[in-house]
Subunit: 490 residues, 2 copies
């Protein structure tokens, strides 16, 4: 089994990563590393999935899907590296006649920040852990990575780290561009290490905030990109409920019970209209939820928290449990949901608990009578990764639906119409982040722009061509898209 890293182990890993950084300057080697890592993960898929399933109980189908996603993501970042638009090259030629003062020759692009610390998630042993998006985007940016493994899947972490290091060697890079450390103390030491220049985190609000605070308190503070927690509100309009109550109820059940509710994008609060169409929605939701099999959570602590969390919520005045969530026997939990009248949530009070994330297969259906109640409840929510609205057919070109979409926008990093937030497509336009506590920064952890987290701009002034990085020379030997004298090129 793995051993907890000592202070010396952490120091050694960070120093080795820093020493490996210059080799990552070669963008060709970076994309080769990412593509090789994808291929090696796929080659070793049966072994990885078996190891991860033994540690997380997420099941082979889900883990095979996650592995495919992880490999896809590695290759997508290799494409980003090869294209070079992420370097954000801007060139302004000298203009002696510029006003109010003459302009020198200025050439800007982005350079890697240096060693990145990645804190792996419990709920995605691959896609948000050692070989996941934080690691892939940091390597793509040219930053070596030291991963703090999640204690929930240490063997999977070791296995994936060995694969990434093998991929580095095959790409002609030092293996130390990726390494892994284990243990709580190692994580704390990592974020404070003088040679660590940025951190990525996926996990709980308490753990993430503690590390964010440590990053900010350093003599030299560093960027901390943490994804901490999200309620992911959903609003169902009366028209949507009238038209598709059964479909929405079933869709909601499928979304909030997916992977036993262990997604950061799980819809945790659903505003559904009072009255008959809303009743039908709740009935359909109850049927589909009852049919969901009991599931095993990632670990015993999460199970305890879930059972206690749903019990505390269900005990609040006016809260009912049409399908009671909770202990499912033999380490399992049962999916369920709660309902409450919106009037209970329009003012500060004990029902605020219902607006806090509860990890696991539970959601809260808030029944509203008026649009004002919807506005009021939404106004009391913290930041989210996602916000969703279900509308009726005629509302697709309706001003009040447009106003509702506009009202959801300040709440979240992704706004969905007539969909479910679970399932985060890896795509250039994806944004997986949102106002605090969803994210501690304005960045995304999924999609092409996740690479921006690990870069900083630098500008060269009046620098002779031979002394410039090739990306900034007029002849553009690498064919990189850039903006020259105010105009996009390539």
């Amino acid at each position: 089994m793995v051993t907890e890293a000592t202070a010396e182990d952490v120091d050694r890993a960070v120093r080795a990563a820093a020493a490996a950084a210059p080799a990552l300057t070669d963008r060709g080697a970076r994309s080769a590393l990412l593509r090789t890592a994808a291929a090696l993960l796929e080659e070793d898929a049966p072994h990885i999935v078996e190891t991860a399933d033994a540690e997380t109980a997420l099941g082979a189908p889900r883990l095979n899907g996650e592995l495919a996603r992880t490999a896809y993501q590695l290759r997508a970042f290799a494409d980003v590296v090869d294209e070079g638009a992420f370097l954000d090259v801007i060139i302004d030629h000298a203009d002696p006649g510029a006003g109010p003062v003459p302009r020198p020759d200025l050439r800007r692009y982005k350079i890697p920040l240096g060693v990145v610390a990645v804190y792996a998630a419990s709920n995605f042993p691959l896609a948000f852990s050692v070989p996941g998006g934080d690691t892939a985007s940091a390597l793509a940016a040219g930053c070596p990575v030291v991963v703090k493994a999640h204690p929930g899947h240490p063997a999977t972490s070791q296995l994936c780290a060995a694969i990434l290091r093998r991929a580095a060697a095959q790409a002609g890079l030092p293996e130390d561009v990726v390494s892994v450390v284990h243990g709580f103390d190692a994580g704390v030491r990592l974020v404070s290490h003088p040679l660590v220049n940025a951190a990525g985190f996926t996990g709980s609000i308490s753990g993430g905030r503690a590390l964010y605070d440590a990053a900010a308190a350093r003599p030299r503070p560093i960027p901390f990109h943490g994804e901490l927690g999200s309620l992911n509100p959903v609003v169902v309009t009366p028209a949507a409920a009238a038209e598709r109550a059964e479909q929405i109820g079933a869709g909601l059940a499928a979304s909030f019970t997916l992977s036993s509710g262990q997604f950061c994008t799980k819809p945790g609060l659903v505003l559904a209209p009072a009255g008959e169409p809303g009743d039908r929605l709740v009935t359909a939701l109850a049927e589909a939820t009852t049919a969901a099999p009991a599931g095993v959570l990632l670990d015993a602590r999460m199970r305890e928290r879930f059972v206690a969390g749903v019990r505390e919520r269900a005990a609040l005045p006016g809260v009912t449990a049409p399908v009671e969530p909770g202990d499912g026997g033999e380490n399992a939990v049962r999916a369920g949901f709660l309902t409450v009248a919106a009037a209970r949530l329009t003012e500060r009070g004990p029902h605020d608990l219902l607006t806090e994330e509860c990890f696991g297969p539970v959601t809260v259906v808030v029944r509203y009578d008026t649009d004002e109640e919807v506005v009021c409840v939404l106004g009391r929510l913290a930041g989210n990764l996602t916000a969703t609205v279900h509308i009726g057919d005629a509302e697709a070109s309706d001003a009040s639906a447009a106003a509702l979409v506009a009202r959801l926008t300040p709440l979240a990093g992704r706004v969905l119409v007539n969909g479910w937030p679970t399932g985060v497509a890896v795509a250039p336009a994806q944004h997986h982040g949102g106002p605090y506590p969803a994210t501690t920064s304005t960045s995304t952890s999924v999609g092409a722009t996740a690479i921006e987290r690990w870069l900083r701009p630098v500008t060269y002034q009046d620098t002779p061509p031979a002394l410039l990085p090739p990306e900034l020379r007029d002849d553009n030997p690498m064919g990189i898209p850039r903006r020259v004298n105010g105009r996009a090129q390539g």
Copy 2:
């Protein structure tokens, strides 16, 4: 005269700014505001310059130049708003056949963060104060601004705020998109106000760090873009000294004494070779520095700090003062410079003081014998806004000069060859920021990309066209440059 803002005053200003935010959604109104503000500043230039000169003693020529720069900057951000590339629009159409899973329709752009707190600088009463780059870029992004005025120029601040508010009214916007508060306590309250969503700062390390810490310690932390301090190292190669000792000495004197050394980009540490060419450089520097007139610093406290700072530095063993900086009589200070052997700086010790910024007309010339000494001294410096190298003619295509440029890059946000760092061109490729303490983030406070500080991305998934912001519709009614299905358009 102005009065210090009470807690209620600050709260009122922030709430009024937040209430004005929706009006700033209109990009046309934003660019009209910025252009009108530029015109009104120019119209009132004599009055503004007179007021600022009475408060700062910076002199009419410098202040007229600063006003021209400020107006240019406002118009440059209006151009940025009109073009729309800053919205970073990325559109991925739905792809049901995408691997590893079908892709929904995803459309991303950037939205304003909300109310921005701006902490004005002492040394630029216009360009980095009320009507300066932080305010201009925040308004361009669509964020209302509450400025904490610098106590060194309260009347100038009031005057400029009135002009900006008048410009807002003329552009059909609420005047409260800009307001000003005065007083130390007001500044502390501002960064902690729940409705403030980001902050920009230009000033000292101690003040900036205290506000940065307060921003990070909030229940909901906010981005804090602070420019705190910079030494701006310069390396003169032996070849450069041999070819242009006199020119470099005179250029250095002009740069470090400009505006009595009160620029954040003042070259504060110069690595010059030992031996005859370096001696000639020092002689030329001494002549030009001696010829510089005594100057008045921004306020009495700065003068005291400067006099004490240069005295403490000059008293270090091995430090000489070929032209002694210090008290110039009648509120003035004399420009001067110190010299020291590089060997004194290659290890930790009392001479570390020489690697800290000393605001005012002083620089430190460090005489080196070997390249190793240069590498060692550079390796001991904190982050900087700029780093400069002066090279000889033949070195413009020389591998060792290229290596030196590469070595300066990790130290700074702007690298210059054969130039002087004072004078920061307002241009798209400009980057005025650098590793901590130069900046508390990876952003710039000058140039088009300064707008990025006040935005966050949001993605719409499967959203009907009529419910989307016009910037994200397929017909692109506003003609905004964007990336669609991986390809740049427009």
